[in-house]
């Protein structure tokens, strides 16, 4: 049944059979048995019972109201990748705004939304029933735009659609996807009724030069001369075009140092490919990256500079090299150790945290990396804050776990848990956990964060990011609280109790954070008072508070801020998107009075580093002062080989928790604390392909002062480094070559033994780490005697570090590299119109296929493109189900009483009349009062007339009565009699029925006979 956009349906229509069967049965069985009820009640009872059964059956069948909606939601998916010129990317926004304004049906409450994408997709404007705000630039943090991920964008868009509308995606792109597979996801969109319109963006044909590749041998020996090749391409559609002039510059970098390889080479690039060669040799072992750059003479000859650089790297195996990373805020702290290691014939390079490695390739130059009292982030203000990014931490972990390099972490007040390394990938590699999971050890900090909504773009998003990062840094015994202006119109703690122990609640807390919407806090005072009260109840040894705000809440009273200072609670303030001096002054004052730091952030991306740095303040309790006590040697190990148990005393250490793993070897312990889970001074283990060492005290700067004059100092640290070092290669001749072609990296291995004989049937395994730092494995199989091959798809541009394992027991893995020079994003010079047509041609289930709108997005064609209507009604209408069965059940419940009542309650006629009569009377009085009055008057008049006639006729009576036909009498009498009988009960009017006298009747009969006679005479005349 349909009523406009509504109709009904049943979830389980089979239940309707119950009604179809039961209702006839009820009538058959009950009709006779209910005979005692009388005819009316019997039929009524059976009808009610049937209705009851029907309603129950309908409720059981789960009846639903089904509503069809005319509303349409259009989500625009805009390609913001770098293959599309910036001007066209901006034009997309104008196009979308204008088209929505023109075609959106506001009365139907159509919705429009925008998704932008490059490598990832993000929501620029969620679908909403309003016009889009006029804008000329994307406001979302889009991330990297060096790739086109159509699949991710469509997936995100499809997830955004509300359920009660028809759905369409308008895809504005060049169609050159190089991440994901849109063909895999698009059919599922069509199956879900989502239509796709496409606006192709054409890439203009232009002069374009790209450095295609740098080709180097992947492994070589020291001082071996080699020849490198550089492949350049000049793309142009005009074969007779002038050659493009410019220079090619080659540089080599290793360990962060970059140096030129020869002079710049002038070139003239004709259309097509050009190959240049260069010769070079490498003196010292390590990983070297060669970079070739093309610099055009005329910038107009080459419109896309991103593809003018290509790199490749090669690996030279040599003796062990050590990289010591030190805190840029404390340079020279480990100079003594570096000197002693160099004296022990180890090559040591130092690196500051302010100039950290950027790629795994840089780390490949070293066999051991030492993190010397390095925090995860350091610095005192926005400009000096330096931090290991998640990617860099992953590189350090992969360098050991996958590529076999050693990792040594040296203690100090900024290392391990005190350095904010808890819950990082690095913690997994180390033999100890950085968090204290022992309640007996009072190493507890408390951190309160105050969140105030910022008017800057994505301010709330970044607040959540920073809070999450800070929360991750805290240990399980630490306390954390977040204060914000809640929906309830007051400052509120995000969870209860306000300052709660992180413990096992970390994930719950992070989820609560994700749901938080910080409001516009009017004043700092209430939240600061709440924080102070909570701090005072808490027994944590270090308490710290961070306020993030744009600075416009009303300033707190100075006395309140001073109370924080008196309690030793420092408040760090972060001004983000602050409103001038007025806003920042308040925050500056709070930080200054309490001794905290003040940061003014213009780029929200700096926030997580600041919060990590600040959260680290409360993790300090893991630092333990020792009363000048020497550690105990508890295990014989190559690191302490030849060293007697007479270690000098220590004045401090960082508490850790030894991993519960049989591979972990604890070599030195501190007598204090006595719990063996937390007192490791020196612990080591082998983790996957590499080795890791935790040394929880420092190397002589402060806590181990006495060690610098200890005769075994050099021996201990050099043995530590050598034990952890990546093993040297053997003499077997394994030649490994890598080639990159069509997005695939092929690894070819030629295996010869020491006698130059092919080595067959090796179970070689391949593993690689891509630019995203995610390790993955790939198969290697033997294809010929001594020849093995493996292949994997390189979806991303950048360096791939490949490890070949399975050469045999005790043999170290081979390490080579392959370089995919740049994203295919920069190779694409024409649009993939075919793919776009394919997407538009997909027919959404129940609707019409999409359209390809125009052939290019240009300012000149914008108006005609805007004319196309993506809000057209040719898609399957959205259907919304509303459950109706509870109402039916409700009515059935009510009928139940009526059903019972009809059977059980017999009301006598008199009772009915007694109930009804007053009502009837009242009604009649109203409607008939006037009519009765008129009738009475008429009757009165008639009575008087009849009385006159009667007296007159009585006087003339002379004859005896005779028989008179009754029908003749009826013709005279009825009007008066009927009126009188009707009026009698109600009006009470009574009068004598007028009796017709014999004389009257005789006279009337005589007249009738006379009239009859006349009629007969007339008929005879007529004939």
């Amino acid at each position: 049944m349909h009523w406009g956009n509504w109709h009904i349906s049943f979830v389980h229509p089979a239940y309707l059979i119950v009604a179809a069967v039961l209702i006839p049965v009820i009538w058959l069985v009950s009709f006779r048995s209910l005979a005692g009820l009388g005819p009316v009640r019997r039929v009524l009872a059976l009808t009610l019972r049937s209705l009851l059964v029907l309603l129950f059956a309908v409720a059981l069948a789960e009846i639903q109201w089904v509503e069809k909606s005319d509303r349409v939601t259009v989500i625009y998916v805009l390609d913001q990748s770098e293959s599309i010129p910036p001007a066209k990317r901006r034009l997309m926004l104008e196009y979308v705004v204008r088209q929505v304004r023109r075609h959106r049906n506001a009365r139907q409450r159509d919705r429009a939304g925008v998704v932008v994408f490059g490598r990832q997709a993000v929501v620029e404007v969620p679908p909403f029933d309003d016009d889009l705000p006029p804008t000329t630039q994307v406001e979302s943090t889009l991330g990297e735009t060096d790739a086109t991920n159509l699949a991710a964008a469509l997936k995100l868009a499809s997830a955004l659609f509300p359920e009660d509308t028809a759905r369409r995606i308008v895809l504005v792109t060049d169609g050159n996807e190089n991440l994901g597979q849109v063909r895999e996801i698009a059919p599922s969109l069509a199956r879900n009724g989502i239509g796709i319109d496409v606006v192709p963006v054409k890439l203009t044909t232009r002069a374009e030069v790209a450095v295609e590749n740098v080709i180097l041998p992947s492994r070589m020996r020291r001082q071996q001369k080699f020849r490198g090749r550089i492949v350049l391409s000049n793309y142009t559609d005009d074969d007779k075009a002038e050659p493009v002039r410019g220079v090619v510059r080659v540089t080599r970098s290793s360990g962060g140092r970059e140096e030129p390889v020869g002079e710049d080479v002038p070139v003239e690039l004709k259309p097509g490919k050009t190959v240049l060669t260069f010769e070079h040799e490498i003196d010292s072992p390590g990983i070297y990256t060669y970079k070739a750059t093309f610099v055009p003479e005329n910038a107009e000859d080459d419109l896309m500079p991103q593809n003018n650089v290509a790199t490749a790297f090669t690996h030279v195996q040599g003796k062990g090299r050590v990289l010591l990373i030190e805190d840029h805020m404390h340079p020279g702290e480990f100079d003594f150790l570096v000197d002693r290691l160099r004296a022990m014939n180890l090559e040591v390079d130092t690196m500051s945290t302010s100039t950290l490695f950027a790629s795994l390739a840089e780390l490949q130059a070293y066999d051991v990396v030492i993190l010397a009292n390095v925090p995860r982030s350091s610095g005192d203000d926005e400009t000096s804050v330096a931090a290991f990014s998640d990617a860099q931490i992953q590189m350090l972990a992969n360098n050991t776990a996958q590529l076999g390099a050693g990792l040594i972490m040296l203690g100090g007040d900024r290392s391990f848990g005190a350095g904010g390394w808890a819950n990082t990938e690095l913690e997994k590699v180390m033999p100890v956990d950085f968090q204290i999971k022992n309640a007996k050890i009072k190493a507890v900090g408390a951190l309160v964060m105050v969140m105030h909504a910022s008017e800057m773009a994505q301010g709330n998003f970044w607040q959540k990011v920073v809070a999450r990062e800070a929360l991750k840094t805290l240990g399980p015994l630490d306390y954390c609280g977040i204060l914000h202006w809640s929906d309830f119109g007051r400052d509120s703690w995000l969870w209860r109790p306000g300052l709660a122990r992180v413990g096992t609640r970390r994930k719950t807390m992070i989820r609560a954070l994700a749901r938080m919407t910080p409001g516009d806090m009017p004043a700092f005072e209430p939240s600061m008072r709440m924080a102070l009260a909570e701090f005072r109840k808490n027994k944590a040894s270090i308490k710290h508070m961070i306020i993030i705000s744009d600075g416009d809440p009303s300033a707190p009273p100075r006395a309140l801020v001073q109370r924080f200072a008196q309690d030793g609670i420092k408040i760090t303030t972060v001004a983000i998107g602050a409103h001038g001096v007025t806003g920042t002054k308040t925050l500056q004052d709070i930080a200054q009075i309490t001794g905290g730091n003040y940061y003014r952030v213009r780029n929200a991306k700096a926030l997580p580093r600041i919060y990590q740095r600040e959260a680290r303040r409360v993790t300090r309790p893991v630092v333990k002062d020792l009363a000048n006590i020497p550690p105990r040697l508890v295990l014989s190990h190559p690191i302490v080989s030849g060293i007697r148990d007479d270690f000098p005393p220590l004045q401090g250490m960082v508490l850790t928790t030894v991993k519960e793993n049989p591979l972990v070897e604890v070599i030195l312990r501190s007598p204090d604390p006595s719990d063996n889970r937390n007192n490791a001074i020196l612990a080591a283990w082998t983790y996957n392909n590499g080795r890791a060492v935790a040394f929880t005290t420092d190397a002589g700067y402060r806590w181990a002062n006495a060690w610098t004059s200890w005769p075994h100092y050099d021996q201990l640290f050099s043995q530590m480094v050598r034990w952890a070092m990546r093993p040297a290669e053997d003499d077997e001749a394994f030649d490994v070559a890598t080639t990159v072609r069509d997005g695939k990296v092929r690894v070819t291995i030629t295996a010869l033994d020491t006698e130059n004989q092919y080595t067959n049937f090796l179970g070689l395994t391949g593993a690689a780490i891509g630019p995203d730092q995610k390790p993955f494995s790939f198969p290697i199989r033997q294809v010929a005697p001594g020849r093995y091959e493996g292949e994997f798809t390189a979806r991303e541009a950048g360096s791939y570090h490949i490890t070949i394992g399975g050469r045999g027991p005790g043999k170290p893995p081979l390490i080579v590299g392959a370089n995919v020079p740049y994203s295919s994003e920069y190779k694409d010079r024409t649009s993939n119109v075919e793919l776009l047509k394919e997407l538009a041609a997909l027919r959404p289930q129940g609707g019409q296929a999409g359209k390809v709108i125009g052939d290019d997005l240009t300012p000149a064609k914008l108006e005609s493109l805007v004319k196309a209507n993506p809000f057209r009604r040719d898609l399957p209408r959205a259907v919304t189900m509303h459950e109706a069965w509870p109402w039916f059940l409700f009515v059935a419940g009510l009928l139940f009483f009526a059903d019972v009542a009809v059977r059980r309650i017999a009301i006598r006629r008199e009772t009915w009349q007694r109930w009804i009569e007053p009502i009837r009377k009242r009604l009649r009085r109203r409607t008939e009062a006037v009519e009765v009055e008129a009738k009475l008057q008429r009757l009165q008049k008639r009575k008087e007339q009849l009385a006159d006639d009667l007296s007159r006729k009585k006087a003339a009576t002379r004859f005896e009565p005779d028989t008179i036909p009754t029908e003749e009498l009826d013709e005279v009498a009825p009007p008066v009699a009927a009126a009188a009988s009707k009026q009698k009960p109600d009006s009470g009017a009574t009068f004598d029925e007028p009796e017709e006298s014999y004389t009257d009747r005789l006279r009337r009969a005589k007249e009738q006979a006379r009239r009859k006679l006349k009629r007969n005479d007339a008929e005879e005349d007529a004939e």
Binding site: D130, G489, D520, P522, S554, G580, T582, P886, F896, F897
Partner: protein, 367 residues
């Protein structure tokens, strides 16, 4: 009792959190009520149907009627909201004409036209029925958006361009009068501003402009725009302010100030120069009679005023002496509920227009 109690709590929940799904939740509570009715009545009717028919006539009917009334209470909720009553609710979230993005200040002119400024930096003009008339924008919003708006003695529109430290002046049609702009320079000196909150003009053309930030004060400007005096200062002592969010002239000719972060109302005699504090009432709290961030207020023409509380998310009626008379509104999204309201004005017919900021709408009240 159980079914009714359950449905009561369910209804209460719906009342607090109904947003876009509000319709569903109301329906849900009705369904709960229906179930409670059936739950109570069905077994009862079964029992009754087994009783001798003579005895059940009256008792049965009474019991059924009683139960029906009892179950029908499902969905009822005790209401704390007394008069005034909601007369009209209008406005939706959005950026197109007539819609709002967190409206933060409201003013009404003599023709009962409403001027509303929102987080897009637009000043939109509506009639008292909520019909959109026109709009214009402030010159810049990158640093922040206005939080105050008022109508001058000659009908000019005064916009507190908060984060640009100035008071903008417009004609009613939206034409800016740059020569009338007050301030524009950040600072604490005479004529300089921190965050400008609101302004009010006296019949003789003098302007009183409120500000907060480093120097919470009210400055007095002569008709030529020269700063002639100031009062206040940051603090909670009488006469000091912490965010003087709203300024209005009272029926007594005095200057009334909503001292938002001190949770009080202060009254100044502006015959004196600088203005002299003559009255102060209000204390922080959530109980009736207490205030929590009073952001705006409007006089009711009957010897009282209605105070709009951002913190308590309600409107409270007081006598001019600060005696509480009643409370209207509670946190929520349904008509009659408020989400962090910023402003209130009274029109010539003494209807009150409340700016329900986080619900992106206006609610009109009648006393």
């Amino acid at each position: 009792m159980t079914p009714c109690r359950a449905s009561l709590s369910g209804r209460s929940h719906a009342g607090k959190h109904v947003g876009h799904g509000g319709h569903t939740e109301i329906l849900g509570s009705k369904i709960t009520g229906a179930f409670s009715l059936i739950t109570v009545l069905s077994p009862l009717s079964l029992v009754m149907s087994e009783l001798p028919s003579r005895r059940i006539d009256r008792r049965y009917c009474l019991a059924v009627a009683g139960c029906a009334a009892f179950a029908g209470m499902a969905g009822c909720r005790p209401s704390h909201a007394g008069p005034p009553r909601v007369d009209k609710v209008w406005g939706r979230r959005g950026i197109s004409e007539g819609r709002f993005q967190r409206p933060r200040a409201i003013a009404v002119d003599k023709k009962d036209q409403l001027y509303i400024v929102d987080m897009t930096g637009r000043i939109q003009v509506f009639d008292a029925e909520g019909r959109f008339l026109r709009y214009w924008r402030t010159p810049a919003i990158e640093r922040g958006k206005p939080v105050g708006i008022a109508i001058g003695q000659e009908g000019q529109v005064l916009v507190a361009d908060t984060h640009y430290h100035r008071l903008l002046v417009y004609t009613q049609s939206g034409r800016r009068l740059p020569e009338s702009t007050i301030g524009g320079e950040e600072g604490t000196g005479p004529g300089q501003f921190g965050f400008v909150t609101d302004a009010v003009q006296t019949a003789d053309g003098f302007l009183y402009v409120g500000e907060y930030g480093q120097n919470d004060r009210i400055q007095k400007f002569d008709p030529q725009g020269r700063c002639v005096s100031q009062c206040g200062g940051h603090g909670d002592a009488p006469g000091q302010f912490r965010r003087p969010q709203s300024l209005k002239l009272g029926p007594d000719g005095r200057l009334w100030v909503a001292d938002a972060c001190n949770h009080r109302i202060q009254i100044f005699d502006i015959e004196a120069d600088p203005p002299k504090l003559v009255g102060l009432w209000g204390k922080p709290g959530t109980a009736p009679g207490c205030l929590q961030f009073p952001y705006d207020f409007a006089f009711d023409g009957r010897g009282g005023l209605l105070v709009c509380e951002f913190g308590n998310q309600r409107v409270q009626r007081f006598t001019l002496e600060g005696e509480p008379l009643g409370i209207w509104g509670e946190p929520g999204r349904l008509p009659g509920q408020l989400s962090r309201p910023w402003g209130i004005v009274a029109d010539s017919r003494l209807r009150f227009h409340v700016l329900d900021t986080y619900n992106h709408r206006v609610q009109r009240l009648k006393i």
